[in-house]
Amino acid sequence: MAQTATHAHPSYMAIFWWLAVLTVLELAVLFTGLPKVVVVILLCSLALAKASLVAMYFMHLRFETRTLGLVALTPLTIGTLLVLLLVWDGNPLGHRSPTAPAVEAPAAQH
């Protein structure tokens, strides 16, 4: 077996600067005053971009076989399915902590 095989690789410092810039962008998004939904979508996209950079270049997935990439993608697929199923199942069960202050009931309509 080729125990000392080395990888072709990109400039690691370039990846580092990309990750640093994306982290700063994440923090900046918090202060833009955009609607919550937009902020959540932007933050999720930035996090996925950072995670992809780490997986593709630091973990060398970009240079591995396609099948290994599918092995790595499996947890993301399972996690996404789990979120969809749980949200679908859990949404009608909105809960409140026993210690939380009570919310006033809306005024009755006459």
């Binding site: 077996m1 080729a2 125990q3 000392t4 095989a5 080395t6 690789h9 690691y12 410092m13 990846i15 580092f16 990750l19 640093a20 982290t23 994440e26 923090l27 918090l30 902020v39 959540v40 933050l43 999720c44 930035l46 996090a47 950072k50 995670a51 780490v54 997986a55 630091f58 973990m59 060398h60 591995e64 076989t65 099948t67 290994l68 092995v71 790595a72 499996t74 947890p75 993301l76 399972i78 996690g79 789990l82 979120v83 749980l86 949200v87 859990g90 949404n91 069960l93 909105g94 809960h95 409140r96 902590s97 026993p98 210690t99 939380a100 919310v103």
Partner: protein
């Protein structure tokens, strides 16, 4: 005689190469372990998301937890990932001392991360945050926070021990290039820990 029996008898039978990671079976093993571990983290984060989405009184994590320290911790882990790939690069070039230095820096980055996490936990516990409750709202806020960050912190701690043991192995090996595969597998684990923190930071602190 079976292939295994031939190998045991000392016959020159080369073990079959895995088509996915021709470098070694160990690398494939680590990828499979990481895929399983990622499902564990995925379940934790998915559960967190659903608990939060269905709660009426979930506190705003950004206001309760603060992000200055954790933003620095994120930056620290990214830096430690860079030192890890630099260690591998140095090993590929046969430069033992640089590889040792970068491995040590990576372990130090991890140890600092865990120390800062312990500081953050202490601060939050002093403010009343517990696994079973907190002063700001939903009980599960504290439960999920300690569970997810604790599980990740445990991975970082294990990673530091792993890195130090690999550093020892590199130091003892006469031909450092022979340890390239071992360090690459260690790097996979360490980058995974960094990758998971990127998701934890976004979901538990920023959103």
């Amino acid at each position: 005689m079976s292939q295994v029996a031939e190998m045991r008898a000392g016959a020159a039978v080369e073990p079959a190469e895995t088509p996915l990671t021709p470098e070694s079976w160990g690398k494939l093993g680590m990828w499979i372990f990481l895929a399983g571990d990622a499902v564990g983290f995925g379940v934790l984060l998915a559960s967190y998301g659903v608990m939060r989405a269905t709660s009426f009184d979930w506190p705003n994590p950004y206001h309760v937890l603060g992000i200055n320290l954790t933003a620095f911790m994120t930056f620290l882990l990214i830096c430690s990932s860079v030192t890890m790939v630099k260690a591998l690069e140095s090993l590929g070039a046969g430069d033992r001392s640089r590889a040792q230095l970068f491995l040590l820096l990576t372990a130090l980055g991890g140890a600092t991360f865990v120390s800062l996490q312990a500081y953050e936990w202490t601060h939050l516990i002093e403010r009343g945050m517990r696994i079973g409750g907190n002063p700001w709202g939903a009980t599960l806020f504290g439960t999920s926070f300690f569970m997810v960050t604790g599980f990740h912190g445990l991975h970082v701690t294990a990673g530091v021990v792993y890195l130090l043991s690999v550093l020892g192995a590199v130091s003892r090996q006469a031909d450092v290039r022979a340890k390239y595969n071992m360090v690459e597998i260690t790097g996979l684990y360490w980058h995974f820990v960094d990758l998971v923190w990127i998701m934890v930071f976004t979901f538990m602190y920023l959103i």
